[in-house]
């Protein structure tokens, strides 16, 4: 699913550099960074309520290409800067986590129900 479409579904606003044509394959919603590391696949999108720099490090490590901050949480400048450095697209939606995930899932964005490393070993 293209980022542009995702932004429309979530009524989200982009932060920093736009990457409209980025293609997102799977989605993951979590406020637990370890879960993100375990449950995401490269090429996915993360929905989270956390805005610290660790979110970007975690996303970058897990191969997450885009992050949507839910509940209208605006990340601090240092987080935005790090995301730009790691070429991770950022957006904010006012929707809460459950509804954000539900809308995307409903429109066909699948989850990453696969343990990290499980398929690669």
């Amino acid at each position: 699913m293209k980022i542009k479409q995702i932004m429309k579904i979530l009524e989200a606003e982009a932060i920093g550099a736009q990457r409209d044509n980025l293609d997102i394959k799977t989605g993951c919603g979590s406020d637990l960074m370890s879960d993100v590391l375990v449950f995401t696949r490269p090429g996915s999108m993360l929905l989270t309520g956390l805005t610290s720099r660790q979110v970007i490090y975690t996303a970058s490590t897990a191969g997450v290409e885009a992050i949507c901050f839910v509940r209208g949480k605006k990340p601090p400048e240092e987080t935005i800067k790090l995301a730009e450095e790691k070429k991770i697209a950022l957006m904010i939606t006012n929707l809460p986590m459950f509804e954000s995930c539900g809308r995307l899932y409903d429109k066909g964005l699948v989850g990453c129900s696969e343990l990290a490393g499980a398929s690669e070993k």
Binding site: S34, L37, V38, S52, S60, T61
Partner: protein
């Protein structure tokens, strides 16, 4: 009597080869030959042929043929008039004339006029097949419209063309990787019984602002060293979990990455509180992290199980009150 076909080739194509190979060569469809086979369909004959061709006019004598063949060590020469190929004279024709003592004969009376040719816009596979079915050493190449002689193609030309194309494809793929070194090459350049590269990182305990930086730095280095993305991913997920553990639970510790061509190992050493019950700590969801850590999104009790899932080897030793040694590896 004039021969109907001409033998005009490299060392292998004497009369013996004539008619020996009737079947076109079959290229076996293995993974290794697939690319070459694909190329032989994609490449055109004009890309492989030699464009510089020595020719003679039909009104020259066999003495002239002898000189050209001798000087250039050719085994045959195309006969051309006003840019058009009219025939071919081979070294066998020359030997026949020598034997008969008719070296003053004009080329046009000796030459073979039915010449097997190729067009410059045909795919290379046509040339390969023709070499197989005719047993000749080379074919003149004509322009399809003007029928003018454009070049000449030998088996050697085909091999050279395929090799250089494969090489440039390889280079194109290598340079796509950006400024990555090839770690295997680096190690091959400094031979020893055992070579390794050690990258040491110190992680400060309690410094949540910078937590994750060291793993990120290690990731950048591994990318530069040319490891595969998936292996880096598995190692760095583990390194990030281990780094967070150092930040959350200890007053600081070292992460030592040991790089070998076929294996990446990270040793995480701290002198923190230790893990009283390793079996319990390995259970997904078990955590002793304080609430403020959970608010940061960590401390969910997935760290150690996550490391175990992502790595090919994991060793955990801990001494309560003294510290913890964790070691994990990913094979490449």
């Amino acid at each position: 009597m004039k021969r109907k076909t001409w033998l005009f080739g490299t060392s292998g194509s004497t009369g013996k080869t004539k008619g020996r190979t009737r079947r076109p060569p079959r290229i076996q469809k293995t993974a290794k030959t697939q690319k070459t086979q694909q190329l032989s369909y994609e490449l055109k004959i004009k890309e492989a042929m030699s464009k510089k061709v020595l020719t003679l006019k039909p009104n020259r004598t066999m003495m002239d043929v002898r000189k050209v063949l001798k000087d250039h060590r050719f085994t045959g020469i195309p006969i051309v008039e006003s840019g058009r190929l009219v025939g071919i004279v081979s070294i066998e024709d020359l030997i026949n004339c020598l034997t008969a003592g008719s070296m003053e004969t004009m080329v046009k009376d000796i030459m073979t006029t039915k010449v097997v040719t190729l067009f410059s816009d045909e795919p290379l596979i046509h040339a390969i097949n023709k070499f197989g079915s005719h047993g000749f050493g080379r074919f003149p190449v004509l322009d399809r419209d003007s029928k003018k002689l454009m070049g000449i193609i030998t088996k050697q030309d085909i091999i050279e063309c395929l090799l250089s194309t494969l090489q440039s494809l390889y280079h194109a793929r290598e340079s796509k990787k950006g400024n990555r070194y090839q770690v295997a090459r680096l190690f091959a350049d400094v031979p020893s019984d055992w070579t390794t590269l050690i990258l040491k990182y110190h992680v400060k305990g309690g410094d949540f602002g910078k937590a994750g930086e060291k793993s990120d730095q290690l990731k950048g280095n591994l990318l530069k060293l040319g490891y595969a993305d998936e292996q880096i991913r598995r190692l760095i997920i583990s390194a990030l979990e281990a780094e967070m553990n150092l930040v959350i639970f200890t007053s600081g510790g070292d992460m030592i990455a040991q790089i070998e061509p076929d294996k990446m190992t990270v040793k995480v050493i701290d002198d923190g509180p230790g893990i009283p019950d390793i079996e319990l700590a390995m259970q997904p969801g078990y955590s002793t992290a304080p609430d403020f850590v959970r608010e940061l999104g960590f401390g969910a009790g997935m760290g150690l199980p996550n490391i175990k899932n992502c790595t090919d080897e994991m060793k955990l030793e801990s001494w309560p009150g003294k510290g913890t040694n964790l070691e994990f590896s990913v094979y490449s």
